[in-house]
């Protein structure tokens, strides 16, 4: 796996351990974690800065929420190819629908299995590759 082909990802979660867990899973799936941040504002900054292939965002974060960042990104014409995976502890259908409406590509409820996340990430890069 070379840096030219590695897909780039921005990870945002206010919980450092979850952030690390997501980053480890992304690395295992062959992604390049270009930024790992603890709030929505920083996540939006990193997305604008790095134009990553994928953003994995926690929904409930201080400042901008994952949904807010999602909406901002979808309103930005330079980010049309950005894929977004939302992570959330809310499990009901309403939360899932809110994520879809904000423009998320997929939605992963917490607690998630790193194994399942790796599989999702591999499939995602395979589809796009």
């Amino acid at each position: 796996m070379t840096t030219e082909t590695a897909r780039r990802v921005v990870v945002a979660d206010d919980d450092a351990d979850i952030r690390a867990l997501v980053a480890i899973s992304a690395a295992r799936a062959g992604y390049d974690v270009v930024a790992s941040v603890e709030d929505g504002d920083r996540a939006w900054g990193a997305i604008q800065e790095f134009h990553p292939d994928l953003a994995i965002l926690d929904v409930a974060m201080p400042g901008l929420t994952g949904l807010d960042v999602c909406r901002l990104a979808r309103a930005d014409a330079t980010l049309v190819s950005l894929r977004i995976l939302l992570l959330s502890a809310a499990v009901d259908e309403a939360a899932r629908a809110a994520g879809r409406e904000a423009g998320a590509s997929d939605y992963l409820p917490k607690p998630f299995s790193p194994r399942a996340l790796v599989a999702w990430l591999k499939q995602e890069s395979g589809v796009d590759a």
Binding site: D15, I18, L21, A89, E93, A94, F112, P114, R115
Partner: protein
């Protein structure tokens, strides 16, 4: 003087004048020389008859039931006077005049026949000397006297009879009038009593109303006329809106205390174009449902004169007059500031649990999985076993958090149900299959009984599955090794029925109705140290209720328990399995 009634003279009283006159006659004979008995037998017979008549009169007085025979007394009197007259000088006797007394008695009786009886009696009395053979020769004057005197007496009798009849008629009329008067008086008294009673009722109703009106301090009650002009303002309104009745009654309108924007929005919703067809669209919007006679409770915002706003739950009803016409409206408002705050805190708490407890559990489970999947540093069998314990407990904690979250959602009424037509046999089978491994390791047999057709209900497959899982895992948990859990599904009376029957430790009858209370644990559960927190049945009950179903239970301690879930069927496919 109870025994002498002039209104209804007794036979004894009527006899008295005759008896007294007769006694006077006897006295005259004894005292006055020249007045003497001429024939002993008839004189004595006369006295004897008079005694009999007087005794009879006394008897009839004592025994009123023989009163119909009372005319015997004057008749015997006449015979007595006739005999006595015959014995005291016959036609020359002084005592013929006594005859008038019994004649008057008889004549005073009701009915004209008594005149004839009196005449006949008089004739017999006057002819008595001839009967007794005391007059040797029949004299013309004697015969004439026997006719003439009875005629005069008959005339007198007729006059007495008529007077008596008239006075009786008058008496009866007076009595009737008196009776009528009494009835009227009684009616008046009754009416007065009724009036008094109604007045007391009205007064007590009024008092009750005043007391209730004053006692309602937590609700603002405002009364208005049909235009919204306030005419009643209870203590609750004083407390809520910080104004006295005197400041608002007949001075201000109820919509002065509403947020104009809210009234406008509502009137637009109801299609009242402002200023066109409806004079006051805001007020019309406020009373729309009440005007149509429908009770409506809706959240509005009251605004105080100082600009403070208060969220209220407002019920509007119409007031009607005696003809049933709308005469105004009543606005009963409850301040919901506090209950809104409580609901907000509850939601916040639920969110907090959801986030703050699930996040660390996500880390624990995620990192445990990383450890297990680390291909560079494979774990020993023993280490994997320890990891398994940690994972199992983390999952248990996660389930508990999920259950708590769910019960909180049920309580706040925010229990999301993703309902579709759902085939129950798949759900039951899946629940049975997922319980098999645990049942097998506990030495318990699970028997599944499914119907030939597929019962379909309108429901949330995940929640219904959760309900089945709860019941089956409970059954397994409470059944000793070697026991059986039977899970059956059937369609009965347009309902699908899921039964989970075990051969377990059972539940005491006294505890059956507490089963679905939160955190309740049966004595048999704690005694047998069966683990659990007491949320499973609360959740199951909530799920079943949300599906318009019933959760039933039958149990016998030491024999087993049977839970049944009954949910209305949507349809039943006729396809045979």
């Amino acid at each position: 003087m109870g025994f002498i009634s002039v209104d209804h003279p007794t036979p004894a009283l009527k006899q008295l004048p005759t008896a007294v006159a007769f006694a006077c006659a006897l006295l005259l004979i004894l005292v006055v020389p020249g007045i003497e008995v001429t024939d002993d037998f008839t004189a004595v017979l006369g006295i004897a008859l008079m005694v009999v008549a007087t005794v009879l009169a006394a008897l009839f007085t004592r025994m009123p039931k023989y009163e119909h025979l009372v005319l015997l007394v004057p008749v015997i009197d006449m015979l007595a006077v006739g005999a006595f007259r015959a014995g005291t000088g016959a036609a020359l006797s002084l005592f013929s005049a006594i005859l008038i007394l019994p004649v008057v008695w008889i004549a005073a009786e009701r009915g004209r026949k008594h005149i004839l009886i009196a005449i006949a009696g008089t004739s017999i009395a006057l002819y008595a000397p001839y009967f007794f053979g005391l007059v040797p020769e029949v004299e013309i004057s004697g015969i004439v006297r026997g006719i003439f005197t009875p005629l005069i007496f008959g005339l007198a009798a007729a006059i007495v009879n008529e007077l008596s009849r008239q006075s009786q008629v008058q008496l009866e009329a007076i009595r009737r009038l008196a009776d009528d008067k009494e009835v009227i008086l009684q009616r008046t008294v009754e009416f007065a009593n009724q009036l008094q009673e109604s007045e007391a009722q009205i007064r007590s109703g009024d008092r009750l109303f005043r007391n209730v009106w004053a006692a309602v301090t937590e609700q603002s009650v405002i009364g208005t006329d049909v235009t919204g002009l306030i005419d009643a303002w209870n203590p609750g309104a004083v407390q809520l809106l910080k104004l006295d009745g005197s400041e608002v009654e007949n001075k201000r309108y109820v919509f002065d205390f509403h947020v104009p924007a809210e009234l406008n929005d509502r009137s637009r919703e109801l299609n009242y174009p402002p200023g066109e067809t409806v004079l006051n669209p805001g007020f019309s919007a406020l009373v729309e449902s009440a005007r149509l006679g429908q009770a409506e409770s809706r959240e509005w915002t009251y605004v105080l004169d100082d600009g403070t706003t208060i969220p209220v739950l407002l019920s509007v009803t119409k007031r009607v007059d005696d003809d049933g016409e709308t005469s105004g409206y009543l606005f009963v408002a409850t301040d919901v500031t506090q209950s809104r705050e409580v609901a907000r805190l509850k939601d916040e708490f639920v969110g907090l649990i959801s986030h703050e407890l699930r996040t660390p559990l996500s880390s624990i489970l995620g990192y445990l999985e990383l450890l297990r999947d680390d291909e560079d540093n494979p774990l020993s069998v023993e280490q994997k076993q320890y990891l398994g314990v940690a994972e199992r407990n983390a999952h248990r904690l996660l389930r508990l958090v999920g259950d708590l979250l769910f019960t909180a959602q049920v309580e706040s009424g925010k229990f999301p149900l993703d309902a579709h037509d759902t085939e129950l046999d798949r759900i039951v089978s899946a629940a049975v299959e997922s319980a098999r491994p645990i049942a097998a390791s506990a030495g318990i047999t699970i028997i599944q009984e499914l119907p030939d057709t597929t019962p379909v209900v309108h429901g949330d497959a995940i929640r219904l599955g959760q309900a089945c899982d709860n019941l089956i895992s409970n059954a397994v948990k409470f059944t000793p090794r070697g026991g059986t859990v039977t899970v059956s599904l059937s369609a009965e009376n347009e309902h699908a029925v899921i039964r989970v029957r075990d051969t377990g430790i059972g539940i005491a009858a006294s505890e059956l109705d507490q089963l679905s209370s939160r955190f309740f644990r049966a004595t048999t559960a704690t005694r047998n140290a069966v683990p659990g927190v007491g949320l499973g049945l609360t959740i199951t009950k909530a799920i079943v209720t949300a599906h318009h179903g019933d959760l039933g239970v039958e149990s016998e301690e030491g024999v087993g328990t049977c839970f049944s879930v009954t949910i209305p069927l949507v349809a039943q496919t006729s396809a045979v399995r």
